[in-house]
């Protein structure tokens, strides 16, 4: 029972990272495709401005997912990190490159340098979700059974590749929807059109990839396929499709702000569907939630800590997002920190 609850919390945290971090990676994706320096300037400015206050918070979810994995399901953690060493190592390197690229881009004086570091940031925004998605695909396909050595077979299968591509497309979709809403908020009508079109395109790509993925799972991952096309899994997938359709409709209108909620719902529901389809396994047909579960006392306390944390962090998170959407959060300008002529001559 405790283990099941912990597994749902793990899934919830994964969904939160996919949505929070996903928006962020998506912004990076659109940064990559924004075109040359002059043409890409306006979208890039919007991306920077929109990402700034919340990107760090969005990325902390990942740490929480990892901690939940090793405290709640140590066997699962060991199996995943042993079997899928390479994609996870590449994802980790991608995370560093992304941070480094973001940090280096603006202070660089020369255009060539700025382009280089910007490209590093943007390419890493593409590669990191791909490899994380590939790892998820590897888990779903059941190839990361405990004791599996790290070989390309585990994660380079079609399921993994499609999952990786789907992850990239989903982040692009989330990013475009959020940026459309931000463009509304910052009153930039041309950018609304710009990102709305991209939101639609990426949604189409997501749909195509999802169908390919479904066909793929039918052949190679029959356990997950069966559960996705029946019962709770099917219900969640249908709801996700409805939410995605609602998003496509909402971004077209004035109420694009609401599209953020439906797009997040769409992605979260897909992940919930995946989780439901995997029940009762963490690694389909070889490792159940119960088998992988850590000591009962640890799981018990993990739930208590999570409960306390939700009470502490929840309100703070609400305050952050409320302040952000009401436009009360804004980077300091140089005027704020330069302070004009300093009082001098003392002591």
């Amino acid at each position: 029972m405790t283990a099941t609850v912990a597994a749902w919390i793990l899934l919830l945290a994964t969904a939160a990272y996919a949505c929070g971090g996903g928006v962020d990676y998506g912004a990076g994706f659109w940064d990559l495709t924004a075109g040359g320096t002059r043409r890409g300037r306006r979208p890039r400015d919007l991306i920077d401005h929109a990402m700034e206050p919340v990107w760090e918070v969005n990325n902390v979810w990942l740490i929480f997912v990892l901690v939940l994995m090793w405290t709640g399901f140590p066997v699962f953690f060991e199996a995943v990190f042993s079997a899928m060493w390479l994609p996870l190592a590449l994802a980790a390197v991608g995370l560093v490159l992304r941070g480094a690229g973001f940090a280096l881009r603006k202070p660089s004086r020369r255009l060539a340098q700025r382009r280089f570091f910007g490209a590093v940031f943007a390419v890493a925004s593409l590669l990191t979700p791909f490899f994380l998605g590939a790892a998820v695909g590897g888990v779903a396909s059941g190839r990361a059974a405990p004791g599996t050595p790290a070989t390309a077979h585990v994660w380079a299968g079609t399921t993994s590749v499609v999952a990786g591509l789907l992850a990239v497309a989903a982040t692009a979709f989330l990013g475009a929807v959020f940026l459309t809403a931000d463009a509304h908020r910052f009153d930039a009508p041309d950018m609304v059109v710009y990102f709305r079109r991209r939101a639609w395109c990426s949604l189409a790509v997501v749909a195509v990839l999802a169908l390919i993925g479904l066909a793929e799972t039918r052949d190679h991952t029959s356990y997950v396929y069966d559960r996705l096309t029946h019962g709770l899994g099917l219900l969640l997938v249908v709801l996700a499709a409805v939410a995605a359709a609602a998003t496509a409709w909402l971004v077209a209108g004035r109420a694009a702000g609401w599209a953020r909620f439906t797009s997040v719902a769409a992605v979260a529901l897909v992940i919930a569907g995946w989780g439901a389809a995997q029940r009762p396994y963490l690694v389909p047909t070889s490792l159940t939630v119960q088998q992988a579960a850590g000591a009962p006392a640890s799981l018990h306390w993990l739930l208590i800590v999570t409960g306390v944390a939700v009470v502490l962090v929840g309100p703070a998170l609400v305050v952050l997002y409320r302040l952000d959407t009401r436009g009360l959060l804004e980077a300091q300008t140089d005027a704020d920190v330069q302070g004009g002529a300093r009082p001098s001559g003392e002591s």
Binding site: L68, V75, A89, V96, A309, L323, L328, Q338, G340
Partner: protein, 492 residues
């Protein structure tokens, strides 16, 4: 020695790169930790002073520190995430076996860190539009979140040093986990307080050191005076406290991790009337060359009398203790840490004496030279303390329960070396950028202080990533919100 060599030869080839990679990423991350844990507190002290006394100089300092905090926090998130990945990528067997016993500390840390990220975002981006006092109060939980995060991390590390709270079943796997005793292990208390005070002290000396340099270069205005006094006072008050905590943790190590103590003090054979070596080098036959030998002192320090018995390295089999080289490393880092700590006390006393006598800063230029060095020295101390505790535990990753060689990943050494290479290159770039950004900010601020119009032109490419932006960029950038086009003098 032969035995040690055999052991090394038996160790899997991937152990060396895995160890080096972990050591490198931790050593770099730990540089950011003092600022992450304590800079919010020091900034809030300054912020409070600014609001309470309506002091524009203090307000400017608090704003600038928060701009530095933004960059530091961003880099810290990146390096911290890498560390969580590395637990799985490098030591999967430790996490697979013990994750549920000691992982909860990390859970507490992850949530605390989450809270910190939220609050920092509100604080950093709230300067312009939130009202002054609510803005301040929204940030006051920050230091507590930082203390909570440290609680989690130190809980996990202290468990690795003195593991308990479980029973081993017939296959040698842990069962019957008792979380309370797994979190509050014997080394937890001493390690926690020693660590927290070290973080606050280091952050204080580092920040004060910056203004000490400015002072030495002749910038002796109220801005530099205040920027120096507040953090330096925090650090100076904590230095003697740390001296007692350091003495306490050493005694605790003596009792609870006797082999680590023996390595740190180069004690070969269990004996009474053990001499203390300052530096020196341990050889495989147990002899020590170089260094200064003080007869009896080690026994006195450990137990208060020369007759105190101190366990030596040979009290356990060679395979269960640090090698002579590792022991020498631990001994050196321990001595450097203790040495710097003692010198910092003198500095704190100097400051305290002048303040007591004349309510003013010391006038000597040497004081400021030392203060400028204190920042660097305290970072060195943090590194040394960390090496002492980690290398001193060798060859155990979980003391007396799992060796490092049993925990390491089965990924081939070549892959690990390649990853190590990539990580080093990227980290060098990233930390270079971090330093560059901070220096650029400070240079711009300095220029702004001397030239009323803000100095070096409005080149948009001079913008720093997370910190303050130039007003003109947002106004002409097109995509910025209209409300950001406020007057340059409009601070809120």
């Amino acid at each position: 020695m032969n035995k040690a060599l055999t052991l090394l030869a038996d160790a899997p080839a991937q152990m060396l790169p895995a160890r080096e990679l972990m050591a490198f990423t931790l050593a770099t991350h730990i540089i950011l930790v003092p600022l992450g844990v304590a800079l919010p507190f020091i900034t809030l002290v300054m912020h409070h002073r600014a609001l309470r006394r309506k002091d524009p100089v203090a307000l400017l300092l608090a704003r600038r520190w928060s701009a530095v905090m933004a960059v530091q926090f961003a880099v810290g998130i990146v390096t911290g995430t890498v560390l969580s990945f590395e637990f799985g990528l490098l030591w999967p067997k430790m996490m697979g076996t013990w994750g549920d016993v000691f992982g909860l500390g990390f859970g507490v840390e992850a949530w605390a860190f989450f809270l910190e990220a939220v609050l920092i975002a509100v604080y950093l981006y709230g300067w312009r539009r939130l009202r002054p006092w609510p803005h301040f109060w929204l940030a006051t939980p920050l230091p507590f979140a930082a203390l909570l995060g440290a609680f989690g991390i130190i809980g996990a590390n202290a468990w690795m040093n003195t593991p308990q709270g479980f029973r081993l079943d017939s296959q040698g796997r842990p069962t019957d986990v008792d979380i309370r005793s797994a979190v509050f292990t014997p080394m937890f208390g001493p390690q926690y307080w020693h660590f927290v005070v070290a973080m606050f002290l280091t952050a204080g000396y580092v920040v004060a050191g910056v203004y000490a340099v400015g002072w030495l270069r002749g910038r002796r205005d109220r801005y530099h005076r205040l920027g120096f006094c507040v953090p330096f006072t925090v650090a100076a008050i904590l230095t003697p406290v740390q001296f007692f905590l350091g003495d306490n943790i050493t005694r605790q190590v003596y009792q609870k991790q006797p082999v680590k103590f023996a390595a740190a003090e180069l004690v070969w054979k269990t004996d009474t009337h053990v001499p203390e070596y300052l530096f020196g080098r341990l050889h495989p036959d147990g002899s020590v060359t170089g260094g200064i030998k003080v007869p009896q002192l080690d026994s006195i320090l450990a137990g208060g009398s020369p007759g105190t018995k101190v366990n030596g390295l040979t009290s356990v089999p060679a395979a269960d203790r640090p090698t002579p080289t590792q022991a020498t490393i631990v001994h050196w880092t321990f001595d450097i840490m203790a040495g710097i700590g003692s010198v910092l006390i003198l500095l704190a006393l100097w400051y305290g004496w002048c303040w007591f006598r004349r309510r003013d800063l010391p006038r000597s230029v040497w004081f400021f030279r030392c203060a400028a060095l204190a920042g660097v020295a305290s970072v060195v101390t943090v590194e040394c303390g960390w090496i002492t505790t980690e290398v001193g535990r060798q060859p155990w990753i979980v003391y007396q329960h799992m060796r490092v060689s049993d925990a390491v990943t089965s990924t081939p050494a070549t892959s690990l070396w390649i990853m190590f290479g990539i990580v080093v290159v990227v980290y060098v770039l990233m930390f270079g950028a971090f330093l560059g950004v901070v220096l650029r900010m400070s240079r711009r601020w300095r220029v702004a202080g001397t030239e009323p119009d803000g100095g070096d032109g409005h080149d948009p490419e001079l913008d720093t990533p997370y910190g303050p932006r130039r007003e003109t960029v947002e106004a002409t950038g097109g995509a910025g919100p209209p409300e950001s086009r406020s007057e340059p003098g409009d601070t809120r």
